[in-house]
């Protein structure tokens, strides 16, 4: 504990000095998500040794851990007590850390039904770009004292602060889970899921994969059984079902092979769920999650037309290449929003030394 506390002070001192000499820093956890953004140059600051669970009280449904704690350790510990992370984050490899997950703001198949990473963040201790050690939020479910800086850190990828201690709300593992498989095309999927979405059914994941619609149900056995009768379709046996959702969560399903094995870009489109189908001329293939709100696609020409279409639908498009970081990963921001984001960045990191350019050229 004391050694780790000293480490906090050491990090702060290190950043203070970097601030003084305008030294850019490349903040790193498990180095498993380099591809998720732009390349960062600078002195590497690794959080891997800043690791360990600080406090976990199952009856409080709250865990506090250091940023460098491997995700699998967190998940195993929670699982021993019948609990889990409600947002089912993808790890992208065994070295993934809690800090990396929160900094990237990644959420998995459960996201539309139980919330995103940011929804579970209760508090964060961080170091800003001046080397100041700051604590925001706390260990309680409700906290409106001051601006919600801890949630702002989610998805900021370390550009606003170096995450140290993270407190998350956790949830009970559902008593029972079952996956149903139905034949459906995109239109049928939308009609069905729009209807199901207005009923209080325990949906916890959906995928449209070619012409098969996979629906996962989670909760008390009685509730799942009742929902399964409404939905119909075939039961996917538990081991296959678990493997299937794990592959979706990690983008290891065969749909993603092309992106993983060749140098092809994969697009992640985030849209209102009932958004119409993406025009055929823009994409060659797609896999749809989140009841339609998340669409993984390969683009025909890999041009910005897909991005324009997404923007017209009031969504945004992320372009991923699993092999490496790339410049145009994230959707461009409207000019006024971009300028505001720069001012916010500047308020946390006036010298621009924290993961500079990770999100956008100047952010």
């Amino acid at each position: 504990m004391n050694a780790q506390f000293d480490l906090q002070k050491e990090f702060a001192e290190y950043v203070r000095q970097a601030y003084a000499r305008q030294q850019q820093l490349h903040i790193q956890g498990g180095n498993s998500k380099t591809f998720y953004g732009r390349r960062v140059s600078g002195e590497t600051l690794s959080l891997r040794d800043y690791s360990g669970i600080i406090n976990y009280e199952p009856s409080e449904l709250v865990i506090t851990a250091r940023a460098g704690t491997p995700l699998h350790i967190i998940e195993a510990t929670l699982s021993e007590h019948g609990q889990m992370l409600g947002f089912e984050p993808p790890a992208y490899g065994p070295t993934a850390t809690l800090g990396g997950i929160i900094a990237c703001g990644l959420s998995g198949p459960r996201r539309p039904y139980s919330g995103a990473a940011r929804d579970f963040v209760l508090g964060i201790t961080l170091i800003n770009g001046k080397g100041e050690l700051l604590r925001f939020g706390g260990q309680v479910m409700k906290n409106v004292a001051g601006y919600d800086v801890s949630r702002l850190m989610c998805g900021a990828q370390g550009t606003l602060g170096i995450l140290l201690d993270i407190t998350l709300k956790v949830v009970p593992i559902p008593a029972y889970e079952e996956t149903r498989v139905l034949e459906a095309d995109e239109t049928q999927m939308q009609t069905l899921l729009s209807d199901l979405g207005r009923r209080p059914l325990p949906l916890s994941a959906t995928v449209l994969d070619e012409n098969l619609l996979y629906i996962r149900l989670s909760g008390a056995r009685a509730g799942v059984d009742a929902a399964a009768r409404v939905i119909g379709g075939d039961l996917l046996a538990k081991p296959q079902g678990d493997r299937y959702w794990q592959q979706i969560r990690e983008q290891e399903h065969k749909f993603f092979n092309r992106a993983r094995e060749t140098d092809t870009n994969l697009w992640r489109l985030s849209l209102a769920p009932a958004t119409k189908a993406i025009p055929d001329q823009l994409i060659s293939n797609q896999l749809i999650e989140w009841s339609g709100a998340l669409r993984w696609v390969y683009s025909h020409n890999d041009d910005e037309a897909l991005r324009q279409w997404t923007q017209q639908q009031n969504g945004h498009a992320i372009r991923l290449n699993f092999a490496d970081a790339s410049d145009r990963t994230f959707h461009p921001l409207a000019p006024a929003l971009h300028a505001l984001s720069q001012r916010i960045k500047n308020s946390f990191d006036p010298a621009g030394i924290l993961n500079p350019g990770r999100l956008y050229a100047d952010l």
Binding site: E57, S59, E60, L61, S107, P112, R118, D119, N128, L133, L134, F136, G138, Q139, V140, M141, K142, V144, A145, G146, Y147, D148, V149, R151, L152, C154, G155, A156, G197, R198, R199, P200, L201, P202, G219, A220, A222, G223, A226, S270, A272, A293, L294, Q313, G315, H331, L333, A336, L337, H338, L340, S341, R343, I344, N346, S347, F348, L359, Y360, L363
Partner: protein, 495 residues
């Protein structure tokens, strides 16, 4: 404090601002008559009052932009106001500043049943969203006790919770997109119609920012399907410790009730007298627990909860058998504050939130403090998420009582911070709790808040003086508050 302390500045500002506003706002959207301005001098925290320079009631986004540009040009502060139901003087005007009333933004632009969202103006009442969504079997989850009157814009400003946020989240969990006008009059969209957005999560930072960062002019909220079944259970306890343990055990058993509330004896009696809801008046505490889901799920969970309650010697366990009975139990709970208002001329409501494990300990300590300060404290609160609402009853016309009430309040909030909690769970800071912010945050943290505000509002014109105390203010407060030359909580790490 009703009249301006600097009449010259007031006249000067009025003279410059009024004609400028008239360029794009009709006369009847600008209120300058003192008798009419009194309606805007405070929110529901009525002990603090201030007349504004004038009140504007715009009815279009362009008009809001114009008001902001005028105020920015003339360096005049702006305070936004929704329905005025806030509890912390957050929308109390600042002296010689503009009060921007958003009540005319009361249109529901769209209910989208397929995306389960509603696009609304900030002046729409919380309950009106749920009513409009009802034909689609949907509702808006945040339900603060003031939901009949409070506006969703105000909910966003305060990150409002309510009795069901244990399961369904706070306002921040239930909004997707915000359209804001900056102090420069610029229009910016935060978030999106999708479940995430590019760039920083600015909907999170706007939610709960108490009007210090921008003016919200449109909100896209999430709608949820109504549960098939909901049952409300009321149970009485002879001791507060057993009630506190029951709360911890229910959550510890892996159950997430839709609501989990606790009321102490004074609260029970006050509510019962007003509402006649059948609350057991001899109990030391009652808990209210709502379970929702499919019929079968609710039955299962009810059985689990009842067995926990019985093990802890609960008596008078009542379970609602229909929607009307559920409504009656909740209506009584939500009437807690009007009921308390009958007990004393003034009521100082705390909003500290603590880890659940500390409930019984903190409750006991609050009662000791109440005795020390010789003022009654009533506890009616959201126990499931540790959000305490101790209410200090006093008479503000008695200066000594007034003083004691505020000191006691500070001691209670100090206690909440000490056990790892926060000074505010859902009511916000406003002006009323601004000193206690100094108990929770270091000067570096406060400076970071100020820097973040400056990124939105460089000249500090939006709701200035609220929510985030200046370092000077904290230095003064802490100096007064230091006990025997020691910093508060010497055992806590400080940086």
């Amino acid at each position: 404090m009703s009249a301006s302390k600097s009449p010259n500045l007031r006249e000067h500002r009025l003279g410059r601002l009024y004609p400028l506003l008239l360029e794009q706002l009709p006369k009847d959207a600008i209120i300058t008559a003192t008798e009419e301005l009194h309606a805007y001098e405070c929110d529901a925290f009525t002990t603090m009052r201030q007349l504004p320079l004038l009140t504007v009631l715009p009815d279009s986004i362009e008009q809001v932009q114009h008001v902001m540009r005028c105020c920015h040009t003339l360096d005049i502060p702006v305070v936004a106001r929704g329905a005025g139901t806030g509890l912390t003087a957050g929308s109390m005007p600042v002296e010689n500043g503009v009060l921007l009333g958003m009540s005319k933004f009361d249109q529901i632009h769209e209910i989208d049943p397929h995306n389960r969202t509603a696009l609304i103006g900030p002046g729409v009442r919380n309950q009106a969203v749920t009513d409009a969504a009802a034909p689609y079997n949907l509702y808006f989850a945040p339900d603060p006790s003031s939901q009949l009157a409070c506006s969703v814009g105000g909910n966003v400003a305060e990150n409002a919770g309510g009795v069901h946020c244990l399961k369904y989240g706070l306002t921040v969990h239930n909004i997707l997109e915000l359209e804001i006008i900056t102090i420069e009059g610029e229009r910016i969209t935060l978030g999106s119609a999708a479940l995430d957005a590019a760039g920083y999560d600015l909907t999170a930072i706007m939610t709960g920012s108490e009007g210090l960062l921008g003016i919200v002019v449109a909100i896209r909220v999430k709608l949820l399907p109504k549960p098939a079944s909901a049952r409300v259970l009321l149970a009485a306890f002879a001791t507060i410790e057993e009630a506190g343990t029951a709360i911890a055990d229910i959550i510890g058993a892996g159950l997430i009730p839709a609501g989990l509330e606790m009321i102490d004896q004074t609260g029970i009696r006050a509510i019962e007298e007003l509402m006649h809801a059948g609350y057991p008046v001899d109990a030391a505490a009652v808990i209210i627990c709502e379970l929702d889901g499919s019929e079968a799920e609710v039955e299962d969970e009810l059985a689990s909860v009842i067995s926990i309650l019985k093990r802890l010697n609960a008596s008078d366990i009542q379970v609602s058998t229909n929607a009307e009975e559920s409504r009656r139990i909740w209506a009584a709970r939500k009437a807690a504050f009007p009921a308390l208002a009958r007990l004393a001329p003034d009521n100082y409501i705390m909003d500290g939130t603590i880890p659940r494990r500390a409930l019984a300990e903190v409750w006991t300590r609050i009662n000791e403090l109440a005795e020390e300060y010789d003022l009654p404290v009533v506890n009616v609160f959201h126990a499931g998420d540790g959000n305490m609402h101790p209410s200090i009853l006093f008479d503000s016309s008695d200066e000594d009582q007034h003083q004691r009430a505020f000191e006691l309040g500070t001691r209670i909030l100090e206690l909440c911070v000490q056990v790892g909690g926060t000074i505010s769970g859902e009511h916000g800071i406003g002006l009323e709790k601004i000193n206690q912010m100094c108990l929770q945050f270091s000067s570096h943290e406060l400076s970071q808040f100020h820097a973040l505000k400056a990124a939105f509002d460089e000249r500090n014109l939006l709701n200035p003086g609220k929510q985030i105390p200046t370092l000077a203010r904290c230095a003064e407060f802490n100096a007064m508050h230091v006990h025997h030359g020691e910093m508060p909580f010497p055992h806590l790490e400080r940086f």
